[in-house]
Point group: C2
C-alpha cells in the first residue's frame, strides 16, 4: 500500500461547491474555487461546512444560474413565494422619494446609494443584495445604503426608526440561513464601505477595525505583524468581520483560539433608534456591569448594527503540521482526540472526522484513491501534501452529490454520542427500506458523517439518488428530535436567520425563547407592546427617565426568533 503522501499530490484540487438538495449538483452553481493564497487559508476553505465564499459583486456572472436554455425557471424564487405564510408587516412604511432624498443628505456620496426608488435601476443591479449566494432566498429591496462612517449608520437608523422603515444589515452576504438578505422590501444597509482598520497594538495583539473590513484583509493586516486573526473560514475573501461577529461565526480556528465570546473585547454598535453604543474596549478585564456586547455577538443584526470591533489576536505560529490517521472505530477516534489534546495541548488547531462511508463515497465519485487510506496514517511533508490532505477532506462534501443530491445537517452533538447519529440514521433507513448502496431503486444511497470533531460539530449528509418526499419525512423532525434529546444544537455555527427560525425550539427551552423575546423587545421593541417604559399609544414608548422614543422593531424583521 503506497503511503498516502505519495498518492495525494496526484489528486486534483477539487472545485469547491455548495450542496443542497433543492438544487442538484449537476444543475447548481459552483462558485469558482478561490485561488490558493497561503497555507493558512485556502487549504482550509471548506466552503460547505463553513460560511461559504460567495461570488462577489464583481463576479456576478458566476452567480447566475447555469441552467440549460430550456429551463426558464432558473430565477431564484422570491422568499415571499417560498414562504407563502410569511406576510409583509404593514407596520413598515414603503420607501418614498422623500426618504431617498433624506438618505442622500445623510450619506453625501452617490457611491453610497443604490437607488431603485427614484431611479430606473434594474432589478439585476439589486440581485447581489437581494439574493443569498445559495440561491435559496430572494428579497425585493429597491434601496441599498452603504454608509462610510458610524455616524452615517446612526443617522440612517435614526431616520428609519422614526419613519418605520425596516432594515437588513448586510456584510459580505455569505451566510447560509438567509439572514443577510431582505424578505420583502426592507432597506439593505451594506457595511462594505465602513472598512478601515482603526488601530493595532502589536504588544497586546488588540485589533480595532470597522465592521466592513474583509476577514482576509484583517488577517493579512495582523499577519504582517506576526499575529493571526482568531477566526478563519472559507468565505474569508468576502465575508466581513462585523458580520462574522454578528453571526458568531465558528470556523476553522475555534478549537485552538476559542469563540468570539472570548476573543471580542469590545464592540461599537448602533442601536435601532440611532444611538451609538460605544463599548469598543481594548481591555481584557473590565468587570463593570453586564457584558452587553455579548448579545450582539450572534445577535444577527436584530438588536442593532455592529459598526466596529475590538478583538484579541494571538501570535501567529511559525509552523503548521497536518497528520492523517485511519482508525477502526469512533471509540478509537475519540482516543486519538484525547491523545492529540494531551500531546499537543493548545497548539492543536483542528481535529476533523471523516467516516469510512464518506471516504467511500469520495472514492466512488472521484475515482482517485484506493480504500486502504482509511487504515493508513501519514504526516504531510510539504505544503503541497498539506493542501492535498485538506482537499481530500473538502472533497467529501461534493462527493455526496454525485448520485443526485444530499440532505445536509450542521449539528452540535456532545462528543461521546456525536457519531451515533450517523449510525442511527443508517439503521433507520435500513429498517424503513429506503436505502441501498447499489440498488438504484432505493432513494437513499448512503448516510455519511464528517465534520469538526474537535468542536463537537458533525455534518450529517444523506446522499440520495433523487428527491423523495418519503426520505424527507423520515428525516424530519427525526434528526432534530434526535439532536434535541441529547441537548445538541440544530445550528452549530450558521445561526438562525430565516431558515432555522422555526426550529429554535429543538435547541432552546420555552423559557430561553421567552427571554430572548424580551431581549429583542428591550432593544428593538415592536410597536403595540412596550419595552422598558409605559405604552402610550402605538409605537410610542415613554421611558421611566422621561424620554419618549419611537420604537418600531425595524431591525432585520421576520427572522431569528
Amino acid at each position: 500500500m503506497p503511503p498516502l503522501h505519495r498518492t495525494l499530490p496526484a489528486l486534483r484540487r477539487l472545485r469547491l461547491a455548495n450542496a443542497s438538495f433543492q438544487q442538484p449538483a449537476h444543475l447548481r452553481l459552483r462558485p469558482a474555487a478561490p485561488p490558493l493564497r497561503t497555507l493558512h487559508s485556502s487549504p482550509r476553505a471548506r466552503q460547505e461546512e463553513e460560511k461559504v465564499s460567495p461570488t462577489t459583486s464583481a463576479s456576478s456572472a458566476d452567480h447566475a444560474p447555469q441552467d440549460a436554455p430550456d429551463r426558464p425557471q432558473s430565477k431564484i424564487k422570491y422568499t415571499s413565494d417560498s414562504y407563502p405564510d410569511l406576510k409583509r408587516d404593514s407596520r413598515f412604511k414603503k420607501v418614498s422619494k422623500e426618504d431617498v432624498e433624506h438618505f442622500k443628505k445623510i450619506l453625501g456620496s452617490e457611491a453610497a446609494i443604490l437607488d431603485g426608488v427614484t431611479n430606473e435601476t434594474g432589478e439585476e443591479d439589486f440581485e447581489q443584495y437581494n439574493s443569498d449566494w445559495m440561491r435559496k432566498y430572494r428579497g425585493q429591496c429597491r434601496l441599498v445604503l452603504k454608509p462610510e462612517t458610524t455616524e452615517q449608520v446612526s443617522g440612517v437608523l435614526k431616520y428609519c426608526n422614526e419613519q418605520s422603515l425596516a432594515v437588513v444589515p448586510q456584510g459580505g452576504n455569505s451566510g447560509l440561513v438567509g439572514g443577510s438578505v431582505p424578505v420583502f422590501d426592507e432597506i439593505v444597509i451594506n457595511l462594505s464601505r465602513l472598512n478601515k482598520v482603526r488601530s493595532f497594538d502589536d504588544v497586546s495583539g488588540v485589533l480595532v477595525a470597522d465592521a466592513g473590513v474583509i476577514l482576509q484583509q484583517a488577517d493579512e493586516y495582523v499577519g504582517k505583524q506576526n499575529h493571526i486573526f482568531p477566526l478563519d473560514l472559507g468565505a474569508k475573501g468576502t465575508c466581513q468581520i462585523g458580520a462574522n461577529v454578528a453571526t458568531n461565526a465558528g470556523g476553522l480556528r475555534l478549537l485552538r483560539y476559542g469563540s468570539m465570546h472570548g476573543n471580542i473585547l469590545g464592540l461599537e454598535c448602533v442601536l435601532p433608534d440611532g444611538t451609538i453604543m460605544d463599548d469598543l474596549s481594548k481591555l481584557r478585564k473590565n468587570n463593570t456591569g453586564y457584558d452587553l456586547k455579548q448579545l450582539f455577538i450572534g445577535g444577527e443584526g436584530t438588536i442593532g448594527i455592529i459598526t466596529a470591533i475590538s478583538i484579541l489576536c494571538p501570535q501567529r505560529s511559525s509552523a503548521i503540521n497536518v497528520a492523517y490517521f485511519g482508525l477502526e472505530s469512533y471509540e478509537k477516534v475519540m482516543e486519538a482526540f484525547k491523545e492529540a489534546k494531551k500531546q499537543l495541548g493548545e497548539i492543536l488547531s483542528a481535529f476533523e472526522l471523516m467516516d469510512r462511508q464518506s471516504q467511500s463515497l469520495y472514492h466512488q465519485a472521484k475515482h482517485v484513491m484506493s480504500e486502504e487510506i482509511v487504515s493508513d496514517g501519514v504526516v504531510a511533508e510539504s505544503e503541497t501534501q498539506l493542501q492535498s490532505l485538506w482537499a481530500c477532506r473538502e472533497g467529501i462534501s461534493e462527493a455526496g452529490q454525485h448520485w443526485g443530491g444530499v440532505y445536509k445537517y450542521d449539528l452540535s452533538i456532545p462528543l461521546p454520542e456525536l457519531y451515533s447519529l450517523v449510525e442511527d440514521a443508517r439503521k433507520m433507513f435500513e429498517s424503513n427500506g429506503l436505502m441501498h448502496t447499489e440498488d438504484e431503486k432505493f432513494p437513499v444511497k448512503d448516510v455519511v458523517g464528517y465534520g469538526h470533531m474537535g468542536d463537537s460539530n458533525l455534518h450529517l449528509n444523506v446522499a440520495t439518488r433523487r428527491y423523495d418526499k418519503e426520505v424527507e419525512r423520515a428525516l424530519e423532525p427525526w434528526v432534530y428530535e434526535w439532536v434535541a434529546k441529547r441537548q445538541g444544537s440544530i445550528s452549530a455555527e450558521h445561526g438562525l436567520g430565516l431558515a432555522k427560525k422555526a426550529f429554535i425550539g429543538y435547541s432552546r427551552s420555552e423559557t430561553m425563547i421567552r427571554l430572548m423575546g424580551k431581549i429583542k423587545e428591550t432593544f428593538d421593541p415592536v410597536s403595540g407592546s412596550v419595552g422598558f417604559g409605559v405604552s402610550c399609544c402605538e409605537g410610542i414608548v415613554a421611558y421611566a427617565d422621561g424620554l419618549v422614543c419611537l420604537q418600531k422593531g425595524i431591525m432585520n424583521p421576520y427572522k431569528y426568533i
Copy 2:
C-alpha cells in the same frame, strides 16, 4: 552579584495579607497563609490582587479583629452606618415567622436554615454571612437559607418574589466589593450545600457542576483526569465556581485560558420569579439565539442565581517554568512581553510586572535582598525556587504597608499606557509636595506599580506614612479620570458590588448604563416600572403573552448599577 536563584530560597515565605488604608497593616487582620499545596496554587496565591482567601466558617476566630483590649471599636461598622445615604427600600417585606415556616417546608432540612427570626440565634452566628472578609461591609440579615438543589432555589426565589423579600446570593463570600453580603436585612441564599459534580467528559474536557462546588475541589476533580480548571485564584480553597462565574473572576490563568465568557459553555440559573433557565449546554458551538448566559457571567447575582455551570477545561500541562527578568524601562518590558508571546505562544500563562520602586519598598520593608536583582535574570530550577520567585512577587503587596497604609487601585489600562499612570501619579505627588521617600514629614512615601501585565491589569499602590485627607483628594477622582480618559476600567476583575456602584460612570458610557438598567429591568423589574409588558398596578406586570407576574426587583438590591 549572586544569581537570584541562590538568593531566593533564603527568603522567608511571606504571610499573605490584605491591605487597605482604612485598616493599617499593624492593626489589620491577616488571614493565615494557606498551606502550600501544589505548584499550581499557593505560589500564585497573590491574595491582595485576586479574590482573596477569607477565613472560612470553620476558622471564624481568625476573622475576629486582632485589636488590643483598649480598642472596643473593633466591631465592623454596619454598612447602613458607613453609607448613611443608603436607606432600606420599603418595598421589601421584613421576614416573618410564617415566612420561615414556609422556607422550612421548601428546604426540608434543619441544616439548610440559620434562623434568627423564630430562634434566639445570636448575632455572632450570622457574622460570617453578614460581613465580608475585608471587614468593610456588614449587613443585618437574620435568615440564611442553604438550598441543596436547583428546585429548592427555585422554590425559595418564587416565594421571596411573591412576598417581596429581598435576597443576596452568596458563594464563598470572598469578594472584594461587598457584593455577597446583605446591606440591610436581605435574606442570604448561600449556595454551599449545592455542591455536586454532575458530570465530566475527559474527551471534550467539559465539566458540569453545581454552583457551590469549591474552586479548588473542581480543579482537583478535573486534575485527576489530566485536565485543569481554566480559573485559578488566591481564594480557591473557599470561593465557589458559581460565584466565580457570577463575578466573572479573572485570576491567574486568564492570559492563557481566556475569560469565563469564552470558557463557560452553559449555565443553569434561577430567575427572580423562580423560573429555572436551563442553558446548561455542553456544546462549544450553538448558534441558536441570543447568548443569554453571558449576562449572568459578571451579573453579580442581580438578575438571577446561577445554580450550575458547564465549563470547558483544557488539558493540564506537564511542566511549569518561571523566569524572572530585570529590565531597564517599561518599553523594554513591553518588548520582553512581545518576545515571550512570540516564543511561547499560547503556553505563556502569566506575565507579571514589578517596578523598581515596588521592589525597593520590598527591600526596605523586608531587608532580604540586594537592589541588583532588578537588572538580573533567572529561571527557577526547582519547585522551591519557583515558589520563592512567586513569593517575591506576592510580597510587594504587603511591603507597601510597612510605613502606615496604602491606597490601592485595581485597574485595566491599555498596555502601551499601562505604566504611565504610575509615572504620572509620581509627578503629581512631586509637584503638589505631598511625597518624599525619606522625609517623614511628607504623607506619601512612594508610588509603585505592579500587576498582571499580561492582562493589562495594573495595581497602583500609593504607600503612605499616615492617613491624609489631602492625599485622598489628590488621588480621587484623579485616578478614575486618568483611567477613564484612556478607556480603561476602574474594576479590572473585582466587579462593582456596593463598593464601585457609584463609579461605574468612569468606565461605562451613559448609554451603556442606561442599557444595563434595561437588562436589570427585563429580568428583575422593580415594581412601579415595567419590564416586557404593560404596567397594571404597582408590581404587577401583564405580559404580552397573557401571563401576569409579580416582579419586585428582589435580586441583590442596592448594588451593581
